[in-house]
């Protein structure tokens, strides 16, 4: 069982990265990115293509994937979401559902429905750390994810652009008044959020088998974490990611694998009912 705990925690780094991306988008723009999981799947497929066509290991290419997804997020925000900032929430939900549909099914058409995994030399290496086996792949993933999250934190709290984003998140009107190009800020924020899952996708591509429908389960996992941790709270997303991963990992120890999805969705319902404000949440959707 300790094994489960360690595995879970290590995988949690990725969950945290995913969740931080989602909560950033929501925190800045009040937009729920229903396509979050599908974007991550695209990060995975991109890593796959780079690995198979260019021979680049995903642990090297994750920055490229992050950059590509940044571009995607930026374009989605600028081109689509931006046009409906003032529209009722349902419109925004439907828009992102549309984006999710497009992303998932283009992937389906381009890559087929069969599960894939990326080969990486690290993937089969293991270490003994005290009483437990540690997958080197998971360890590296965890370390890189934490590093990226820290870098993101530094960006948001130490750079001018980062501060501008946070300011716009707190008070859009005020930001406008002081001359901020709010639309650009939004686009950057969305891009950064997408970049998070781009990196996360690349990092897990050797560990987690994926196919286009995986996007939905990843989205659900992201929502689970972000709702537990509090919509809009970065710390909450980070901690939540570790917690949820831990819970799922322990769940997998006791449950049949095919019931894992059942567990995730049931968890989501319970969370929706008891904690819409989250552990650290300040705002409601």
């Amino acid at each position: 069982m300790l094994q489960g705990v360690v595995s879970g925690l290590l995988f949690g780094g990725v969950y945290s990265l995913m969740a931080v991306g989602l909560t950033l988008i929501f925190g800045v723009m009040r937009v729920v990115n229903f396509a979050h999981g599908d974007m991550m799947v695209w990060g995975m497929y991109l890593a796959y293509v780079l690995a198979t066509r260019a021979g680049i290991d995903p642990y090297a290419s994750f920055l490229v994937c992050a950059a590509a997804l940044f571009a995607l997020g930026f374009v989605v925000q600028r081109g689509l979401v931006d046009r409906i900032v003032d529209a009722p929430h349902e419109m925004q939900i439907l828009l992102m559902l549309g984006v999710a549909l497009v992303l998932e099914n283009v992937a389906l058409v381009a890559f087929g429905p069969e599960p894939t995994r990326v080969r990486s030399p690290l993937a089969s290496a293991t270490l003994w750390l005290g009483p437990v086996f540690v997958d080197v792949a998971r360890l590296v993933t965890f370390l890189v994810a934490v590093a990226l999250t820290t870098a993101l934190w530094a960006f948001l709290f130490r750079t001018d652009l980062g501060r501008t984003i946070r300011a716009a998140a707190d008070n859009t009107y005020g930001a406008l008044v002081v001359g901020t190009d709010v639309r650009r800020v939004y686009a950057v924020a969305f891009g950064v959020g997408a970049a998070c899952v781009g990196a996360a996708g690349a990092l897990v591509s050797p560990i987690l088998p994926f196919q286009p429908p995986t996007g939905l389960s990843l989205s659900v996992a992201s929502f689970n974490i972000v709702i537990i941790g509090g919509m809009g709270s970065l710390l909450g997303a980070f901690v939540g990611g570790l917690l949820v991963s831990l819970a799922e990992s322990l769940g997998a120890v006791f449950l049949k694998p095919s019931l894992k999805e059942l567990f995730s969705f049931s968890l989501l319902i319970v969370i929706l009912l008891i904690r819409p404000a989250g552990l650290f949440g300040r705002r409601s959707a």
């Binding site: 925004q92 828009l95 969705f265």
Partner: protein
Amino acid sequence: MKWVLVAGVLALLALPAVLSSYALTLFILIFFYGFLGQAWNIVGGYAGQLSAGHAAFVGVGGYTATMLSIELGLTPWVGMLIGGVLAALLGAIIGYLGFRFGLRGFYFVLLTVAFAEICRVAVSNIDALGGPLGLYITFTGNPRQFQFQDGRVYYYIALALMLVATLTAWAIERRRFGIYLAAIREDEAAAEALGVNAFKYKMLAMVVSSFLTGLGGTFYAFYLFSLQPNTLFGIPLSVEIIIRPIVGGAGTLLGPILGSFILTPLAEISRLYLGQGGLHGAHLIAYGVLLIGVVLFLPEGAYPRLRRALARRSGQTR
């Protein structure tokens, strides 16, 4: 306007005489998805509660009637009603949890998706219900078992279902029930201040909608002679259900029907020309693009836009 509609219905009633069997199938699908879309419209359009898990009700309805038919020999005509009631029960549970706990907008969507997926995975794992491969219905051609040799009977049943759903929506729309739903959709708190019991009316809308959708499940099962959990409870079906009313005009009476007349033929054509297998995803790409397009350019849907264009053409003012 009324006369156009009456003429339209009469035309539809007479149509089977001249249709090829392929065209007949197309119309059956148009009516069936129009029916499901109209049922959804009651809670998703009129009440403004976006549900992306309505496939769950189709599944519950379909599996109930099928199991009752297989295990107890119960005629699906009765099984259909029981299936509808069970679907309504599920709808009541989802509605109660969602509305009592104040889940709005995106949270409510998540709730509905979660329930639908739980149903899907649960049914896939229960061997008594056929597991992941599902159930098959043997062909007997016996009308008592909801099976007909003549495709035209299915046509009339599907048309009847669509008309029943539309009449239900019409009855709701013009009464206090419908007016209150519209108020709730516009501004729930303001409506409450005016004496509208939002919880009660949202629940009612949910129950009516899920009951009707459940009826559709039986039709689906007995028309296709098979049920699989992934098809019957899955997200692609939920998308098929909601896309027609959204494109046609959510919250309007004719929106779901117009939407079905526009999208169903398009979906069939794309299925024909883009091949089989993995390319099944291709028409979903089109749906995604359409959703985006509608949100950006035609948020109220095709029908209101059309109605305004026609009114302008004939020189009337609204």
